[in-house]
């Protein structure tokens, strides 16, 4: 088992014929992901990478019944692409696009509520359930199937974590990047809830960072409903200066809120094992799992 995606997920690529989408769709196909179609307005009827291309998501859904969509479109078209997928009945939308304006994302969130679709991202490397399906841009080969669930606000830092886990002999059930933007789809709480019920997952690693309150909300969630599996967390940005945006649009300490220290305190108080050396993510997770046994 895994969460969000598995070997049966039928994946649609929005913006398929673009350069980035083409590159990463090839990687996904190589990984074994069941990519079934693509959408590029104006290119309907063509084939690309052997996949049928449609003008609209609706047409693609009618023809190929995808249930997951991964979005590679320009930033100002991002919100519309998510809304289109949700309106067409896509269950899980993974938006890779970075730089969607934050007010667009506020609109997207209420739209998603209306249609009952889930969103991963935007500004995410995507989701991978190793050995089953990869929906995103992460390097597939560093992953291996196993017992650790990962939820992360960061891309390369997730690869680093996966790499360390794999070196320590630990595979991953599902690794999901929730995105580095101020307003994103599913966050720690929702994914912790999914991992709670996933039998493959034996421990969960949270990779947080400065800005916002997703980590604090996770702490509140874990405090109020006892979690049956060990949870570890690394929060990046203990050295981050206030008021400066560190790469991600969402990684900023504003009005004295959202510092790494505050997040760490809250998570610690909720019983989460704090990793303070980011080179020890693999080691500490291995320890937590061996203690459990």
């Amino acid at each position: 088992m895994s969460i969000l995606i598995d070997e049966n997920s039928r994946v649609l690529v929005q913006g398929l014929t673009g350069r980035e989408a083409t590159f990463h769709t090839q990687r996904m196909l190589e990984y074994g992901t069941r990519v079934v179609a693509g959408v590029t307005p104006g290119k309907g009827g063509q084939k690309h990478l052997g996949l049928p291309v449609f003008n609209t998501v609706e047409q693609a859904v009618n023809a190929e019944k995808p249930d997951v969509s991964v979005i590679f479109v320009p930033p100002l078209a991002g919100a519309e692409a998510i809304m289109e997928a949700a309106a067409a009945g896509i269950r899980l939308i993974v938006c890779i696009t970075e730089g969607i304006p934050v007010q667009d994302m506020i609109r997207v969130k209420s739209w998603l509520r209306k249609y009952g679709a889930d969103l991963i991202g935007p500004n995410t490397p995507g989701v991978i359930s190793p050995g089953k399906s990869k929906v995103g841009i992460m390097p597939g080969h560093i992953h291996k199937p196993g017992p650790v669930g990962i939820i992360s606000r960061s891309g390369t830092l997730t690869y680093e974590a996966v790499h360390q886990l794999t070196l320590n002999g630990l595979g991953q059930s599902t690794a999901a990047g929730i995105g580095g933007d101020p307003v994103v789809g599913l966050k720690f709480v929702e994914l912790l809830e999914l991992f709670r019920h996933d039998p493959q997952t034996e421990a969960v690693v949270l990779i947080g960072e400065i800005g916002g309150s997703a980590e604090e909300e996770a702490a509140d969630y874990l405090k109020t409903s006892p979690y049956p599996k060990p949870v570890l967390a690394y929060v990046a940005g203990i050295t981050a200066p206030a008021g400066k945006r560190l790469g991600h649009a969402g990684a900023i300490i504003e009005g004295g809120k959202g510092s790494a220290r505050e997040k760490i305190e809250r998570l610690k108080a909720a019983g989460v094992r704090i990793i303070d050396n980011p080179a020890r993510i693999g080691l500490m997770t291995a320890e937590a799992l061996s203690l459990k046994k």
């Binding site: 007010q103 390369t156 580095g180 916002g212 990046a236």
Partner: protein
């Protein structure tokens, strides 16, 4: 993107919001002329993109036009160091000269984005002039927030609730409702992230006058608002940061001695953190990003090394989309043009790692290779001390 007070006030004026009479000047002579046109006393406000100007001496009162000229001469061309500007301060190139408003009461009015509630939020405070976060901490009862959706806008009844919370008189209620409705509509139409009028003052005739204004736009939305994008004042950015931005790099200057060059924002933060963990201080945040070119990597390395505080450098690449060989080539090219007199620790992992390592090794330049993330950080910290 933050814009200057005088630019923000230009927008408020278009919205029909009352402002003190004022002139923007860039020479002492213009300041004198403005002061006599407006008739003294006037206030001179240094236009720098950082808060805390008042306490830093950037806001001065002039009683005569001569006085205004003298004070302007002192301010213009200087660098103002405020609590928010960072150590080198920001250059004062323009001054806003305004007629002094006799203030009966000061309040706070702002629109922002509430990340947690995924909504826009209108905030008012019964006291103005101080930072809203400080007011919220000191007197939470004096603040009221109302959330709204960008598609729905701030409703009239919500604007009224805010106005009544402020305990304004009936005539001012109407004025305030007008102001906050206009400001919220502007906020939505132009994709703002923050719009603050602080203080919003009641003058002696009971009129609401925006004494100071802060507008921050969403960088991501600038492509659809070219008229806003053109307001960027590059003189207010750190030179290295500006240079980095132009190359699509995310660089932020900090106060430490170990320079970092990393791909990915999270890994870049983690690299800073681990340096601290092993007793060092990072000199910067630097994320070269996913779509980086060889040339941009070169520039990144040059920017890194241009920081005189840097004692050692740490290159930490986990290749995914970014290929290790591309980074290696960019670094080598830049390093060959510099007299590489500082130790550089390199940790490469992921896509094309072998090729990357080969390029670095064959360059003949004195790179130190680390086997993993932790060793890389330890080495960089140790090497930064050796050079002292």
């Amino acid at each position: 993107m933050l814009i200057h007070e005088y630019q923000a006030k230009e927008f408020l004026k278009q919205l029909g919001i009352n402002l003190p009479e004022g002139r923007i000047v860039s020479t002492p002579a213009e300041a004198r002329e403005a002061a006599s046109e407006l008739s003294c006393p006037v206030v001179l406000k240094a236009q720098v993109l950082a808060g805390g100007r008042g306490r830093a001496g950037g806001v001065l009162e002039a009683l005569t036009p001569e006085d205004a000229e003298k004070l302007a001469a002192k301010l213009l061309g200087s660098r103002l160091v405020t609590s928010q500007s960072g150590p080198p301060g920001l250059p004062v190139e323009k001054i806003l000269v305004e007629k002094l408003v006799k203030v009966r009461r000061e309040i706070y009015a702002g629109i922002g984005i509430d990340r947690k509630n995924e909504a826009l939020v209108a905030i008012v405070g019964r006291q103005g002039g101080m930072e809203i976060e400080r007011l919220a901490a000191a007197r939470p009862d004096s603040i009221r927030k109302i959330h709204f959706h960008p598609d729905e806008g701030l409703k009239l009844f919500q604007a009224r609730q805010l106005a009544y919370f402020l305990e304004l008189e009936e005539a001012q209620i109407k004025e305030f409702v007008f102001l906050i409705k206009k400001l919220s509509r502007f906020f939505i139409e132009r994709d703002l992230k923050l719009a603050e009028i602080n203080p919003l003052s009641l003058d002696e005739e009971g009129k609401l006058v925006a004494l100071d204004a802060r507008l921050e736009f969403d960088d991501s939305s600038l492509p659809r608002h070219p008229e806003i994008a053109s307001l960027r004042d590059e003189s207010q950015e750190n030179e290295l940061e500006r240079d980095a931005r132009k190359h699509g790099l995310n660089y932020i200057k900090m106060d430490g001695e170990i320079g970092c060059l990393v791909n990915g924002a999270g890994l870049a933060m983690a690299t800073m953190d681990i340096i601290k963990y092993f007793g060092g201080q990072p000199a910067n945040f630097l994320d070269i990003g996913g779509g980086v070119t060889e040339e941009a990597v070169s520039r990144a390395f040059e920017i890194l090394m241009a920081d005189s505080q840097v004692k050692s450098a740490l290159i930490n690449i986990f290749g995914g989309i970014v290929r290790c060989d591309l980074v290696a080539r960019g670094v080598v090219k830049a390093a060959q043009n510099l007299s590489l007199n500082k130790p550089v620790v390199v940790r490469l992992e992921g896509t094309n790692v072998a090729e990357g390592r080969r390029i670095l090794e064959e360059s003949g330049l004195p790179f130190s290779f680390a086997p993993d993330f932790e060793q890389a950080a330890r080495m960089a910290v140790i090497l930064s001390r050796k050079t002292e």
